[in-house]
Every structure is written in structure tokens, then in C-alpha cells.
């Protein structure tokens, strides 16, 4: 019953979305108030219907209803409850349902919190949201119905892929989708603005929090994914330039660019057309990301062909959305008149430079990801584009950007002066040179990129702190004045400071883990000891055991440094009998200087020996600490008072009584 209810609710949602996509748009064009007003209730209604549908699928999974194909393919009675729930979106059909759930949630949020938007504009935004939704509902209902029944129902299910039975991966897709779908709001605002032919500071103030929120979730989602890879895949790798990773990285790059250009629109009333274009690009990349992963086109062109219905639908949808919005942009974009002028060396100029770097980086990643498919499709040779290509292209693009990131925040709006900004960074420059030299002295044999990476991280981190110090007059004014100024730093500025500082930390972490990883692979008998990066790992033997839905081998290690015990580590290897798949649960001991990382493999010989992999991953934890700091920066920036007020208004004349500081 639950399956039919969910299915029916989804069909109803489709029809509601069709109404929401058309009537309010016509109403806004003809200035017919009742049709304009229609956008709000339909947005709520859509959300409620999808919620019913999503709840139905969750109910089917939780109760292990094996008369439904989706549950059979992805669940098992022995699976822990947490993963029965996570299994709802741990598959193609369910994850698309999650997508529309988030889409309708955000649509309802615009309807609810959009009271300060002009009604016609709001109805246009919601109509565009509904158009996207219509595409997705059709895709789900026609090609990927999660509510399909199976006859006769089997006794038990095929279980969820064991790799997905993990907290990190349970949260990873919702985070990414919140990010992807968040950009749909920026997209809808952009399209609505193109229809009206108007973009102003109020528009930017509306778009910024949504873009920020999407960016935060995408940052968190990507960090979560790399963290999962780090602890789950069993050899400490965290980024592979895999097409699937690229699919979620491209929208992040484009979104980061959008975030920065929206600042220029808001503050200086210029770069409007470009910002609208970026909003379109960011969402297009999100759509592409979703569908690259979903369509199977990445595995090979042939996998795409095995299920042509989905593939063709996806292609058509992409062409309509991306092509349509770009055509609209080409038609209406030139009407967006820009106001403020600025010099190349200025804050706006620096933000534009960021945009150049980020969009080219996103385009380069796109090129590398799709090139093999493209070459194959036109009948060229079969090639692979892997990590060596991306590193060779991406890193040189990022280095000038990071150097400029330190300088940009020190430049004035409109017309900046490079010399004073650079003078302020003299000390920072010196510190980063010393840090690089020290790194080089310590790690002579390591790759030189490591030295550059550390120097860049210090350059960015120190300059960000220097900018903050200058802002609050640290050491220039008295401590009381400094504190007062610190309290007055706008939240949006904190967002910039934390975002940039977090990136500096992350660069340090990535550099450390990529440059000076120590690895040792061997068979160890109980009692045997191996030295890895100055840490002595003693293998204390392995034990067999049983988990809720898997068998388990636990290897114990005692780690000492200079004879003194550091930590006991328990590394697990799990076998999931339903799919007969092993997973590794690496033992990780995190320290500021790096992670101790131990993995147990297969038994070797009869005397209790096991294959073990032991690693020291220097600085790696800073990558995720950096990501957390960046997300925190985003969260603080979202709560900036400007976003709540919405429209700028003039301050009262200075003669009026000053209200008490909050």
C-alpha cells in the first residue's frame, strides 16, 4: 500500500509542479495577481507531496518490504536500522527522490521566507524551480521508479553495498545534494532576473545566502567524501581525480566563483551579466554532476547504451536546461546594465581574477573528465585521463590564484594600490620563505612541490591573519580599541577570513599527505615490529569475531615511539556474506603532526601472520580541519545581518541619538 501511496503522491507532485511552472509565470507577465499568488501554495503543496512519497519509500525500507524491487536490491533484514534508512538514498532511484525532496524543500523555503521579494519576481523564481522539478519528476516516473513491485517477492534482499554501510557515506550524498540543489535557487533567481531584465544589489543579497549555503554543503560533502575514502579504502588516499569526484568538484569551483562575483554585484553594482552567467554555470555543473554519476556514461559509452532510456532522457534534459538558459542569457543578458566602474588593480579586479582562475579550473576539470568520452564518441583512440593530467593542469592554475588571494583583500574597492598592499605583506612574505626553507631542510629527499605547498599555505594563512590584524588595529591601537574593533568586524568579513584561513590549513594538510607519506607493506607475525616514520608498530595478533551483518577480523597493534607507548590500535577487516565483499576499517590515530594508520589484510601462512599495511600520513588531519573552518566561515557569513534586512537603507543623520550597541 505504501508503495502505491508514494507513487501516487509523486505523480500528483508532477501535476502541481506543472501548474507552478506555468500559471505564475503567465500571471507575472500579465500582472494578474491571483495567478502570481498561486506560486506560494503550489510550492508548499509540492513539498508536502514529495515528503509523503519520500516517507513512503523510507517506510518500505525500514519495514523491509521485499515486494518492492528497490528494497530487494538494496536492503537485507540483518542490516542495522541506520543503514536501512541510509539505504533509501543509497541507490539510483532513491537518491533522485532525495534530490526532488530537497528541491521542493528549498522551493517551499523561498515561498516562506521570500516575503520581502516583489511578488511577481518571487513567482517567477518559483516557476523556474518548478520547471526543474518537472524534469526530475518525469525522469523518476518514466525511467527510475523506486516504487516498482516485484512478483513473487523474495524472502530476503540483496543487501546494500557494504562500502556504503558507513556513517560517512550515509551523510555524503545528502550533503552533496543540498549543495547541488542550493545552486538551483541561484539559477532560478538568475533566470527570473533575465526575464525581468534587472539585477541589482537586492538581487545579490538574496542570491548570496543561498549560494553560500550551497557552497557550504558542497564543501562539507566533498570533505566527507575524501575523508570516507581516506579511512575506508585502506591505503590513506583521499583524492583520486575520479570522474565521480570531479562531478562534485566542478560545481564547487563554479560556486566559489559565483560567491565572489556576487559580492561585486552587491557592493558595486557591476559584473551583473557575468554573475548571472556564473549562476547558470554553477547549476549546470551540478546537473551535469548528478547525471554523470547517475547515467553510467562515465564507466563507458557502452554502459550508457545499455540503458538508453535513462541516457537519452538525461541528455535531453541537460540540453533543454543548459541550452535554454544560455540562449535566454544571450538574448536578455546584454540588457543588464552595469553601474560601478573600477580599475584592474582593485578589490573588484582581484575578485575578477578569482573568477578567471576558478572558472578556467572548472572548465579544465570538465575537459579532462569528458575528453575520453568525447574522443571515443567521435571514433578517436581510447585514452585515459587520470590524476597525473589533472595535477599537471590544476596545480599551476591554483598557484597564482593562491598568491593573489593574499593580496586581494588588502586592495581598496574601485581603485587599489599594489605597493602599499605588498608592503604590508613584507613580513608575511619573509615568514613563508623561512617556512619553505625550513621544510626543504627537513625533507631534502621529498618532492619540491611539498616545499612550495607549505610556503603557499603559510603565505595565505599568515596574510589572512595580517588582514584581520590590520582591520582591528592590532598593536597599533590600545587593547580596548582592538577588542572593540574585533567585535565590530562584520560577519561576512569573518566568513572571508575563515574561508581563506581554512583553505590555508587544507593546503598544508594536502601537501603533507601528498608529499611525505611513509608506507610499509609486509607480512607480520604476532610480536613482530616495524618502524614507520619513527613510530614502532608491534603486531599483537588478530582475532576473529562477528558483527551484526558481517564477519570480522581484528588486528591489534601497539605503537611506541623511542620505547614509549603512544597508542593501541585496532584495525578491522569485515566480510559481508550476502554480497561476499570485504571492507577495511583502518585503525587511525590522529595527531597534530600526522596520522598513524594501520590496516590488516589476509592471513599469510599458518603461524598467525597477517599482511599488514602501516602508514604515517603527515599533517593529513589539517585538510579536514581546514574544510571545517571553511564551512564555519560560510555559516557565520550566512547569518550576516545584511541578509536578513535585505534592502539597503540610508543611515539616520549623525545628529540623531545613537542607539545603544547590542
Amino acid at each position: 500500500m505504501s508503495a502505491e501511496l508514494g507513487h501516487f503522491a509523486l505523480i500528483l507532485a508532477l501535476f502541481v509542479a506543472i501548474v507552478q511552472a506555468t500559471l505564475p509565470l503567465i500571471g507575472a507577465q500579465r500582472n494578474y495577481a491571483p495567478w502570481i499568488a498561486l506560486s506560494k501554495p503550489t510550492a508548499y503543496c509540492q513539498f508536502a507531496l514529495v515528503a509523503i512519497s519520500f516517507a513512503s519509500l523510507t517506510h518500505l525500507h525500514v519495514t523491509s518490504d521485499f515486494s518492492v524491487l528497490n528494497v530487494v536490491q538494496n536492503s537485507h533484514t540483518a542490516k542495522p536500522m541506520l543503514y536501512k534508512i541510509a539505504g533509501v538514498w543509497g541507490n539510483h532511484e532513491g537518491s533522485l527522490l532525495l534530490w526532488v525532496q530537497i528541491l521542493s524543500l528549498f522551493g517551499a523555503a523561498v515561498a516562506l521566507f521570500g516575503a520581502n521579494l516583489p511578488p511577481a519576481f518571487r513567482s517567477r523564481v518559483l516557476a523556474v524551480q518548478a520547471m526543474i522539478a518537472v524534469g526530475f519528476y518525469l525522469f523518476i516516473l518514466i525511467t527510475s521508479n523506486p516504487f516498482e513491485r516485484i512478483m513473487p517477492p523474495p524472502l530476503n534482499g540483496r543487501d546494500l553495498n557494504p562500502l556504503l554501510q558507513d556513517m560517512g557515506l550515509a551523510l555524503h550524498p545528502p550533503m552533496l545534494y543540498l549543495g547541488y540543489v542550493g545552486f538551483s535557487i541561484a539559477f532560478s533567481f538568475a533566470i527570473a532576473a533575465l526575464i525581468e531584465g534587472r539585477v541589482d544589489a537586492a538581487w545579490a543579497r538574496w542570491v548570496r545566502p543561498w549560494t553560500l549555503a550551497a557552497w557550504m554543503f558542497l564543501t562539507a560533502g566533498n570533505a566527507l567524501g575524501s575523508w570516507w575514502a581516506y579511512y575506508e579504502l585502506g591505503w590513506g588516499g583521499w583524492w583520486f581525480w575520479d570522474p565521480v569526484e570531479n562531478a562534485s568538484f566542478m560545481p564547487w569551483l563554479a560556486g566559489t566563483a559565483l560567491l565572489h562575483s556576487a559580492v561585486v554585484v552587491e557592493k558595486r553594482d557591476t559584473l551583473k551579466g557575468w554573475t548571472v552567467l556564473l549562476a547558470i554555470i554553477a547549476f549546470s555543473m551540478s546537473l551535469l554532476g548528478t547525471f554523470l554519476v547517475r547515467s553510467g556514461v562515465l564507466t563507458s559509452v557502452h554502459a550508457f547504451a545499455t540503458d538508453p532510456a535513462r541516457g537519452v532522457f538525461i541528455l535531453a534534459l541537460l540540453i533543454i536546461v543548459i541550452g535554454g538558459s544560455l540562449a535566454l542569457f544571450a538574448w536578455r543578458g546584454p540588457q543588464l546594465k552595469s553601474g560601478g566602474l573600477f580599475q584592474p588593480i582593485s578589490r573588484e579586479g582581484a575578485l575578477l581574477f578569482n573568477n578567471l582562475g576558478m572558472t578556467v579550473a572548472a572548465a579544465a576539470v570538465l575537459l579532462g573528465t569528458l575528453y575520453p568520452l568525447f574522443l571515443d564518441a567521435i571514433g578517436g583512440s581510447k585514452i585515459s585521463v587520470g590524476a597525473p593530467f589533472f595535477n599537471a593542469v590544476f596545480i599551476p592554475l591554483m598557484i597564482p590564484l593562491i598568491i593573489a588571494m593574499a593580496i586581494g583583500p588588502l586592495l581598496n574597492w574601485k581603485r587599489g594600490d599594489l605597493i602599499p598592499a605588498l608592503t604590508r605583506l613584507k613580513l608575511v612574505f619573509l615568514i613563508s620563505i623561512v617556512a619553505g626553507a625550513a621544510t626543504w631542510a627537513m625533507e631534502m629527499d621529498g618532492p619540491f612541490m611539498g616545499v612550495i605547498g607549505i610556503a603557499l599555505a603559510v603565505w595565505l594563512g599568515a596574510s589572512t591573519l595580517a588582514e584581520l590584524a590590520g582591520r582591528i588595529h592590532l598593536f597599533r591601537a590600545g587593547p580596548a580599541e582592538t577588542l572593540r574593533r574585533l567585535g565590530r568586524v562584520p560577519r561576512a568579513t569573518w566568513g572571508m577570513t575563515l574561508g581563506h584561513f581554512g583553505l590555508a590549513l587544507a593546503i598544508a594538510g594536502m601537501t603533507g599527505a601528498a608529499s611525505w607519506k611513509v608506507e610499509s607493506i609486509q607480512a607480520m607475525k604476532p610480536g613482530e615490529m616495524v618502524n614507520v616514520g619513527g613510530y614502532e608498530f608491534t603486531f599483537d595478533g588478530a582475532q576473529q569475531g562477528k558483527g551484526p551483518n558481517y564477519d570480522i577480523v581484528t588486528g591489534k597493534f601497539t605503537v611506541r615511539r623511542d620505547g614509549e607507548k603512544v597508542v593501541d590500535m585496532l584495525a578491522e577487516k569485515r566480510i559481508y556474506p550476502v554480497r561476499n565483499m570485504p571492507t577495511t576499517e583502518a585503525a587511525i590515530h590522529t595527531m597534530i603532526s600526522g596520522d598513524l594508520y594501520a590496516v590488516i589484510g589476509d592471513p599469510e601462512g599458518a603461524d598467525g601472520a597477517y599482511v599488514t599495511r602501516l602508514y604515517f600520513n603527515p599533517l593529513v588531519v589539517w585538510m579536514w580541519i581546514g574544510a571545517i573552518v571553511m564551512v564555519l566561515g560560510g555559516a557565520i557569513s550566512v547569518t550576516d545581518v545584511r541578509h536578513r534586512i535585505g534592502v539597503p537603507h540610508r543611515r539616520r543623520p549623525a545628529t540623531a541619538a545613537k542607539p545603544a550597541e547590542a
Binding site: 591505503w235 583520486f240 553510467g296 564507466t299 578556467v360 575537459l367 587520470g386
Partner: protein, 160 residues
Amino acid sequence: MKSRILFLALVIFLIPAQGFAVSPDEVLDDPVLEERAREISKGLRCLVCQNQSIDDSDAGLARDLRLLVRERLVAGDSDEEVVNYIVSRYGEFVLLRPPFKLGTLVLWLGPLFLVLIGLVSIVIFFRRNREAVDRKKATVLPLSDMEQRRLRKILKERVT
């Protein structure tokens, strides 16, 4: 088997295969040679995997290739010879860093081209910006004598 691989590949996020890559019995005694083998392995694609290097993959074929690389190194091949040997048997598909040739021209030069386009558009943008400023200046007439006098008067009032 093939459908199983396809299915696995299509599972939600196309996860890289479970990584139990290099095992102890493959490791060469000579650490310098082993280091070279690892470096070479990182640039070679595991043919049955999704974009994984043979160094990261636990697939049987990846292991075979790893052993082959080591075999050639022990036989005294240079790094380049080893890679050429593998490419001659498996084609350029195994190279994770595609060679620079006609078919990959767009791939390798594309990013550079985009940077150039970006820079040129920014230059054009600023040109137009300046022209707009000049036009504005041209349309603004200088103050007449009367206006100058009024301005001075206002400024004086302000100061006193």
C-alpha cells in the same frame, strides 16, 4: 561476470574498488628498484577498473601488470622502456597521463587556451570600462563662471 562488473560500477557512487593493492610478495628486494616500480605503477591504468592506477587497485589484472613492471625493471629496463613495453602490449589506454599528440591537442592546450580567452576578455572589459569613463567625462560640461562662484561660496560657508 561482465554484467556484474557493470552493476558494481553503476552502484551509487561508482566507488573505486576495494584497495588491497601492492602485497608483500610482490615487493622487490632492492628498495631503489621498488621505488621506481611504484612510481611507474602510479601512472598506469588498471584496465578493468574505473580510472584507478594499478598501484591502487586490487584487481587481478592490476597485480599482473605490477608484476610485469617489476619483471622488466629487474631485467634492467629503464623507466621509459618499461612504460613503452606496457603501452606496446595494451595501447595508450593504460597511460593515465595521455601522451601529447594530435588527438589530445585540445585536451592539453585547452586549459591554456581558456586562460588566454579569459585574459583577453578581461582586457576588453577594462578597455570598454575606460571608454565609458571617457565618454562620461566628455559629456560632462565644465562649470560656468557663475557656477564656480557659487561653488566657492558654498565651500566657504561650509568651512566657517
